[in-house]
Amino acid sequence: MSEEGKKHYVKIRATENMKKLMTDYYIQAKTAAGTGKKVCWITSGGPVEFLIAMDVIPVYPENHGAMCGASRTSVELAEVAEEMGFSRDLCSYARLDIGQAVTAGGPIGGLPRPDFLLCCNNICGTVLKWYEHVSRYYDVPMFFFDTPFIHKETREHAFEYVRNQCVELIEFLEDQTRRNFSENKFAEVAVKSVQAVDLWKKVLSTAEHRPSPLTCFDAFIHMAPIVTLRGTQDVVDYYRLLLSEMEERIENGISAVPEERYRLIWDNIPIWYEMRNLGKLFASRGACLVADTYTSAWAVDIRIDEPLTSMADAYTSVYLNISIDLMVDQVLSLIQRFKADGMVMHSNRSCKPYSLGQYDIARMVTEKTGKPVVIIEADMTDSRAYSEAQVRERIEAFLESLERM
């Protein structure tokens, strides 16, 4: 960032609260053994509300993967898995997670041991293979929550299948925790989840304002609570705080990027080890990443009157579980809502369901809107697959082309 940029950059105050919330959460998770509380590892798209309602501590290896990526400890952990025989072409979240279980390395000294696992394939098929390994490694049971992919629309029998699995999941959790599932408690959790999701959506929507009070790089950091702990009061309180700060920014004319000139959409998981530098690069050219296809994945719609039914629907129709055509519809609606000038797509070696199809999406989006799209090749946490010079060059060229438009 230029000297000029530095002067204008205003830190988000709520970040401190978020850090405390997440630190407390990880301390609780890491000291759960012996307290009678069970720890369940869960995939990022999994139905966490059931765990919260059963007083189980959810642990997210993917969130931890992001932390390892941001702290640049991911490569050494991935190498442990590679030595065990896991191909370097496999998802780097999976590799680093397999490694951290062995060495307890990374920024928080490894994740707490799971008592059981909840694996939901609405984000990819990789999680199934990854969690099968975890299940063998720790010798713990796994519940596999199967959400059929949507090519056109949800079909009734697919929906029924997922809804029935919610019931099976409840039985599994009752068995694992030796506790009864309480519908009242679940309804309470669902209410809080809805409140938090609603607040999170509002936070993301503040970026509709020109200039935007936040960038998607901020959203990537502030998404941790909605992913991990939705359904708790703390998360509701936290997003209320963050929302009021964003509204205050709008009122006082504070923008995330000094002199916002371009508004862009981000696609795919962040490049965690490079996020800060990329943020600076875009900001220095007056480009604000106003929205993304990633953080909105946690803006699922749950209806309080029918939590179970609406949850089955919501968890099946997340962004990564729908066809390219449906993804294009969502991107178009983001471009329209946020008045974006173009899109930046991260082609992520680690994530096939997110990345395969991007070339077509890019083409279709440009055809339909006339907006340019740039695709950068990288990996979310494996920096060995990243060429800084090449990516910077592509982004610079892209921003120059925006200037000419």
Partner: protein, 382 residues
């Protein structure tokens, strides 16, 4: 309609160099429709019952080019070379394509195919990823019924009787392939590995009843040359079990035999996984097909609470008397790459040597592989 041994050889040769020419000319001669599909989980019987020829799309041995506009280079070569062929118009004889939900790549390839290279009709069968339990079964049955309904909408109604007839033909094919495998497990010298996989691959590229006649001839030929037992003075080859998805690297198979080894059994999807487990017929043919999908050997994309793929494969490795295992995998095939580790570890515990060969169609260096394979066979021979 018998098929003689010479005809078998020419059909094999044809499949090796022009996998789709048989289907093309069949279509011309019969004026019937041809449906392409990718995965061994596709319920071919449902397609066959509509008087259509289901043919498997198996990529090709060439460096991918045109598909680069749609698929990144970290996508497997099976998807990339197949899409290349579609974009070049090589599949213009197909009246439809069927995709089933297996891996992340196939799931996205389905959309890309439909949007850029699609044949007239495009079908997605979103199989459950979980293949046990009542819920998954009910869902699977519904999904198969809904596939049947949509293919019938395009190509005409069928009766349960039609479907049962197709099931019979397919079951017969499975029996014959199983018999062929059993014979080879006892006497691998009766059929080379290359010919074996060409025959199994051919099963998914030609009309099943014709393949059945071919298998009958092949098996009786083998029986003839096998007797009297014990008089064949052939060098004993090292017995190898193969694990992977498609085995269609013909040059590799020749080289393996030259190195003094042969595949005696496998877990390839154009091998044992394709034909193991027949369909037990009942009142409801769709239910019967669903049952087979639940019971057949599992693909690494699928999950069962009740069964472990590693244990099942270990048992088959031991039953086949295999002395070594070759993992033959496509680069960037995530499900197989994940399962490689626990399988390799189980083999180590059982003191069975194994080797991992990762390939990309179109860029296989046989000479490099030869050195590795020869060294591997050497260690087994001790």
């Amino acid at each position: 309609m018998g098929i003689d041994s010479m005809e078998i050889d020419s059909m094999i040769e044809n499949i090796k160099y022009n996998p789709y020419s048989w289907a093309r000319s069949w279509k011309q001669k019969k004026g019937k429709g041809v449906i392409g599909y990718f995965c061994s989980y596709v319920p071919e019987e449902i397609i066959h019952a509509c008087d259509l020829l289901p043919v498997r799309i198996v990529g090709r041995n060439a460096v991918a080019t045109l598909s680069g506009a749609h698929l990144q280079n970290y996508c497997c070569s099976l998807a990339r070379t197949s899409l290349d062929m579609a974009l070049e118009g090589k599949f213009d004889f197909l009246d439809g394509t069927v995709f089933v939900h297996t891996c992340d790549t196939m799931q996205r390839l389905s959309d890309i195919w439909r949007l850029n290279a699609g044949s007239e009709e495009h079908f997605d069968i979103v199989l459950p990823a979980r293949l046990d339990g009542e819920n998954a079964f009910d869902y699977l049955r519904e999904e198969l019924s809904s596939f049947r309904a949509s293919i019938e909408r395009s190509f005409g109604k069928t009766t349960d009787e039609d479907l049962r007839r197709s099931i019979d033909i397919y079951n017969r094919n499975r029996e014959l392939l199983a018999e062929l495998y059993d014979m080879r497990i006892k006497r691998p010298e009766l059929l080379s590995s290359e010919k074996l996989y060409l025959i199994v691959t051919m099963s998914s590229l030609v009309e099943k009843s014709i393949h059945n006649s071919l298998l009958e001839t092949q098996i009786s030929d083998m029986k003839r040359s096998a007797s009297p037992v014990g008089l064949n003075t052939v060098d004993e080859k090292v017995r190898i079990f193969g694990i992977g998805s498609l085995m269609e690297e013909w040059g590799f198979l020749q080289m393996l035999e030259e190195a003094g080894a042969t595949f005696v059994d496998d877990d390839f999807c154009n091998g044992r996984r394709y034909f193991e487990q027949g369909i037990t017929e009942g009142d409801d043919p769709i239910m019967a097909i669903a049952k087979r999908i639940f019971e057949r050997p599992i693909c690494p994309c699928k999950y069962k609470v009740s069964r472990s793929r590693v244990q099942e494969i270990m048992k088959r490795v031991q039953d086949a008397g295999a002395q070594g295992v070759i993992f033959f995998q496509f680069k960037f095939c995530d499900p197989h790459a994940f399962d490689y580790v626990p399988l390799k570890e189980a083999l180590e515990r059982a003191s069975i040597p194994s080797i991992l060969i990762e390939i990309e169609q179109g860029s296989v260096s046989l000479e490099q592989l030869r050195t590795r394979i020869e060294a591997f066979i050497e260690t087994i021979r001790g």
